[in-house]
Symmetry: C2
Subunit: 183 residues, 2 copies
């Protein structure tokens, strides 16, 4: 029997994900991940072709996680209530794992599988918007506006850009309300 496995593909991805979630993608070094799962750096190359292959795997799980969080949050029968809850869940996700969140709009993964994963994660929200505005084109427009606001808000919050005082919570909720308003 050869050397028994100390780790697995899944464990490595999870470790990488945790590392990134907390500290950002720049700390994702092969050595750091290896140390976290209890092996030496070179051993990881038996599981992944290279660093970028690992990173890509992490990106996919992060997108899937966000999708789950959104789907779980948006279960209300009322569309606006559901969308509001999804927005809150989106923000919570970004606050809890800022590094992981920043992966989601990464340039890197532009291939079909990553795009599909992203689309799938955002689908529940899109369906609600469609139901709310009837028209698919209008829903797309609204989706973009809403996503832009959310992404911008959580990014600025993470960057500590809201330093001018005043009520940040109020800005968030009144932004959501405004963007979900009739028209």
């Amino acid at each position: 029997m050869p050397t028994p496995s100390k780790t697995s593909r899944d464990e490595i991805v999870a470790a990488a994900r945790d590392l990134i979630a907390e500290f950002g993608v720049e700390v994702l070094t092969v050595q750091a991940v290896a140390e976290r799962v209890g092996v030496r750096g070179p051993s990881l190359y038996k599981h992944f072709a290279d660093r970028s292959a690992l990173l890509r795997e992490v990106e996919l799980t992060v997108v899937a996680d966000l999708g789950s969080a959104l789907a779980a949050a948006g279960r209300s029968r009322d569309h606006r209530t559901a969308l509001r809850a999804m927005a809150i869940a989106y923000r919570r996700f970004a606050r809890e794992s800022p590094g992981a969140y920043s992966l989601i709009f990464n340039l890197q993964s532009a291939d079909a599988e990553c795009q599909a994963a992203r689309r799938h994660a955002l689908e529940p929200a899109l369906l609600r918007l469609e139901a709310l505005w009837g028209d698919r084109g209008l829903a797309f427009t609204r989706a973009r506006i809403l996503t832009s606001f959310l992404h911008g808000f959580v990014s600025m919050e993470a960057a500590g850009a809201f330093r001018m005082g005043g009520n940040i919570e109020e800005a968030f909720f009144s932004g959501i309300a405004l963007l979900l308003s009739k028209d």
Copy 2:
């Protein structure tokens, strides 16, 4: 007479700024900047203490540039027209120098001088919002919502996140219109 100067502080900052504007902050290596101004890497250390000192200088000029662009765009007598023009200028700035733009909400420069620079750059817009909504608190809230939308939109646009088809221009302008609407 000692060795004559081949470059200057300002020239170095400008070179670094151009480099970042086009390719992003990660290409800002001491060597690359030095090459661009026509000297060797170590020579830069006679002008700047280290890389971060240079980067900080670049950040300040970028914020100032954005401020100038906003101020120049927002000259209309009508507040909404001015704000709309500023939003367009903001987007143009981000599109023309994506790397420079990404510096603006950088965590790095949290000191008083950088904050003051940022505040100064955004002041014309804030004044318009105040004039539009009367109340300073409400203007702050609106400023945050609007800035979040703008920042999110241009970031996503730069990341190529708008891949689902549909009219991106319409999303931008109807977002602006919505956020500048009466209430």
